[in-house]
């Protein structure tokens, strides 16, 4: 899978310049130390999830690390605006998402799946046609397990950005609609509609991946 190959052969991460727009304040050292400890405690609880999210957005380890580090620095500098006791993960993911958007704004990825005409229950219908299970306790497991993690991830990565970011937060982080809306600064209704469409596109992408991998042909031949 392309993204993981890139990840394995990643180049040295680019060094991001530290933003030093505010002059040092001699009184700030002790206050900053206290804030640093508190910030690091909160960050340590979400850093794995943040890296995973960044990796899915950026497609390789180097860029993912850069994104998390950049977001951490921005979050640290804006830590005064974080309301103690509120959702730090959501707050940090919002900053991380904004970092990604500003950094990759110009990299418009062209979708490789034509999703305009994807009907509902696409995977269900197609699975039934070729003899993959559509019933039972976990009916999609046969298809998804045959596809494997790399192809499933690749299918998710094919989604256009507006659907991919929402879907990544949903599938990977188990965020609620409200948490996604807060993270992306958009109405819950927008999250709902993008998730709905994102799921449909993903199902088509998964089926396309299965066809390209020969999974469907092999299954049909077994019937």
């Amino acid at each position: 899978m392309a993204a993981l190959q890139e990840a394995d052969g990643c180049v040295e991460p680019a060094v991001l310049p530290l933003e030093t727009t505010v002059p040092p304040d001699p009184r700030a050292v002790s206050e900053t130390s206290r804030d640093t400890a508190g910030f690091e405690t909160l960050l340590s609880a979400v850093v794995n999830a943040a890296y995973g999210y960044a990796f899915r957005l950026a497609h390789n380890r180097s860029d993912a690390e850069d994104l998390v580090q950049e977001a951490a620095l921005l979050a640290f500098r804006g830590f005064g605006s974080f309301e103690p006791g509120s959702n730090f993960k959501g707050w940090f993911f919002k900053i991380l998402t904004n970092c990604y958007r500003s950094k990759y704004r110009r990299e418009r990825r062209r979708p490789t799946v034509d999703f305009d005409d994807t009907p509902d229950l696409y995977l269900y219908a197609r699975s039934g046609e070729v003899g993959f299970p559509t019933d039972g306790p976990d009916p999609a497991a046969a298809l998804l397990d045959t596809l494997g993690t790399e192809r499933v991830v690749a299918a998710l990565e094919q989604l256009p950005d507006e659907y991919r970011i929402v879907s990544t937060l949903y599938f990977m982080q188990d965020f609620s609609y409200e948490e996604i809306a807060h993270t992306l600064d958009c109405p819950v209704g927008t999250v709902r509609s993008r998730l709905h469409r994102g799921r449909k596109i993903l199902q088509k992408a998964l089926w396309q991946a299965a066809e390209e991998a020969g999974v469907i042909h092999a299954r049909s031949a077994d019937l």
Binding site: V22, V152, V153, L195
Partner: protein
């Protein structure tokens, strides 16, 4: 297929599929969908399949661990930033 006038039709239930799976419906609508599923094998199959896809994708995309030294590197950069001085609120607050 539902025939009771107070129960949802398949179409009405299907329109709520995503919200039902994600528990976004109000309790009354959750109950109506559940009642429909209790009597409609076809919708139950479709709902279960969609849930299975979601759970399967979740299971496969969520296994990424950060490099073991990432937090230490971040801490180091924060220390440097702290020595440079704090800034006002910014970012995503």
């Amino acid at each position: 297929m539902s025939e009771h006038p107070n129960q949802m039709t398949c179409e009405e239930a299907f329109r709520r599929l995503d919200d039902f799976i994600d528990r976004q419906l109000i309790p009354e609508e959750m109950r109506l969908v559940q009642e429909h599923l209790a009597v409609c094998a076809q919708c139950t199959r479709e709902f279960n399949f969609e849930l299975s896809v979601i759970n399967g994708v979740r299971d496969k995309v969520s296994r990424i661990a950060a490099p073991s030294d990432l937090l230490a590197r971040i801490a180091s950069s924060l220390t440097r930033a702290g020595q440079e001085g704090p800034a006002g609120p910014e970012g995503g607050g």
